[in-house]
């Protein structure tokens, strides 16, 4: 059935916004429940059955609060930053292939587009921190920038290994290339002996995606114990809410990207009934792992974070890239 491109765009826009909104709301619930279970507590349980209406209550609370713009802030940038922060995640979702047929916009270089917009996300953190004119916010945003710069390099180097194997930066092509059972996925790829090095790529990519989304143990940008709430210190009401939503949407995008690049996209591990359900299962397993990691490790320090990137991840990803290039060339 052919639908008008405009109608199709509208349907996808509404669908993706609903997906992003629901995820942003209910990942907070999942996060709180997960944290509670790991610490052997119950977690939210008062609002609705098992606390399922908690995100709604939190949203209402945030919306009814006053959006305070303190004296001495750059008013325009201060208001702009949270709105812009939502943008990269939403745009990135448009090029994610959820299944063979379910993708809002197929384009060449879609992987590159996601990384470009991830940098815009970093810019929003910088903007919010700078506009706040608050020392905590500024320290936080400079930390965020140095962290994102440091982790983008190994992340992109590992993406180059994928690009070398698949020969494309189109996420749909990358996913199509991995169709079939477990051993066709990039992570466990038997063909060309890539299974030998891809797990290194995967670990580096996963760590970088946690760092890129400013999640614990790399949440130096909003280190509560040192910087109040970092770049979000001066924000109240939905300004704060939008930053929080952006954080969770970025996590979803990171999980989608990891699933597409390494875990075969919508492919089934046993080669049965591939479809969007496998993709969704994979991203939620990844998101659970991200939550699990957050509630396991304490926050690292800024110099350790940078040491990890410059002394470990970048050398490893460079060597990994060389080996992969060799494998692609000679096998």
């Amino acid at each position: 059935m052919m639908t008008h491109p405009f109608v199709r765009a509208l349907i996808y826009l509404i669908g993706l916004m609903a997906f992003a909104g629901l995820n942003a709301a209910y990942l907070v619930w999942c996060e709180r429940k997960g944290a509670a279970r790991i610490q052997r507590r119950i977690g939210p349980c008062e609002v609705g059955w098992a606390g399922l209406l908690q995100p709604l209550a939190d949203g209402l609370k945030l919306m009814t609060k006053q959006l305070l713009v303190p004296d001495g802030v750059d008013a325009a940038l201060f208001r702009l930053a949270p709105v812009l922060a939502m943008l990269p995640g939403m745009v990135s979702l448009a090029v994610i292939p959820f299944s063979d047929t379910l993708q809002a916009r197929e384009m060449e270089l879609s992987a590159l587009l996601i990384f470009a917009f991830a940098s815009v996300g970093m810019l929003c953190v910088l903007l919010g921190g700078w506009a706040s004119g608050n020392k905590f916010a500024i320290i936080s945003s400079t930390r965020a920038v140095s962290q994102n710069l440091a982790y983008e390099i190994p992340m992109l180097l590992t993406v180059i290994t994928i690009a070398l194997i698949v020969g494309s930066l189109n996420l749909r092509d990358i996913a199509m290339e991995q169709q079939g059972n477990l051993f066709h996925w990039n992570l466990f790829r038997l063909e060309g002996w890539h299974i030998l090095t891809m797990w290194i790529s995967f670990i580096i990519f996963f760590i970088c995606s946690i760092a890129e989304t400013n999640r614990a143990p790399f949440d130096l940008a909003e280190a509560e114990s040192e910087l109040v709430a970092g770049y979000m210190t001066e924000y109240s009401s939905m300004g704060y809410g939008l930053f929080m939503m952006a954080e969770y949407i970025n996590i979803v995008v990171g999980a989608c990207l990891t699933a597409t690049l390494f875990l075969g996209g919508w492919a089934c591990p046993f080669g049965l009934a591939p479809g969007w359900w496998w993709f969704v299962l994979k991203i939620y397993v990844l998101i659970f792992t991200i939550i699990w990691v957050r509630w396991t490790y304490p926050r690292t320090q800024i110099y350790r974070l940078l040491n990890l990137s410059w002394k470990v991840m970048i050398p490893f990803s460079l060597v990994n890239l060389l080996i992969t290039a060799g494998l692609v060339k000679f096998l």
Binding site: R37, R41, T296
Partner: protein
């Protein structure tokens, strides 16, 4: 250089150990007590404020007004009076006032009692806005408890 590789391997191992621990805790039962809905189980040696023990048959206090508890109390929060028993032998308690605001629950009164007349109550949630509530008449309390007996 050897330190570099050791750091990476030891670090990776400790990170995995951490994940295993939290992963295991995730599936273990919760330990939270939902307090207003669930009453806690008090430990056997829980110390509430002291109260009088009544005779099992008559319900009259076991106390013989020897004043040992009053003397043992370091905070001076016990005040008791007694009178000669109608039978002419021994003394009976007429009032036993506990000032719970200064009691530190040290338990010296319970220890000093040789007549099994004092013990700790199991009351853990006594709160009030008025401190006079804590000037407790233990005789009246014992009478109430006797009424509740079948």
């Amino acid at each position: 250089m050897s330190g570099y590789w050791r750091d990476i391997f030891v670090g990776a191992k400790s990170l995995l150990t951490g994940l295993c621990i939290t992963g295991r805790e995730f599936f273990r039962p919760v330990v939270t007590e939902q307090y207003p809905y669930e009453a806690p189980t008090l430990p056997a040696h829980f110390r509430g404020h002291i109260e009088l023990i009544g005779n099992e048959e008559t319900g009259e206090p076991n106390c013989v007004v020897c004043n040992m508890c009053q003397m043992a109390c370091p905070s001076g929060c016990i005040a008791l009076t007694g009178e000669r028993a109608p039978s002419g032998k021994g003394r009976v308690l007429t009032s036993y006032m506990l000032d719970f605001t200064t009691c530190s629950l040290c338990g010296l009164c319970v220890e000093s009692c040789k007549f099994n007349a004092l013990h700790f109550s199991r009351e853990y949630n006594r709160v009030a806005f008025d401190k006079n509530v804590f000037q407790m008449d233990l005789m009246a309390r014992l009478k109430e408890q006797n009424q509740c007996k079948p």
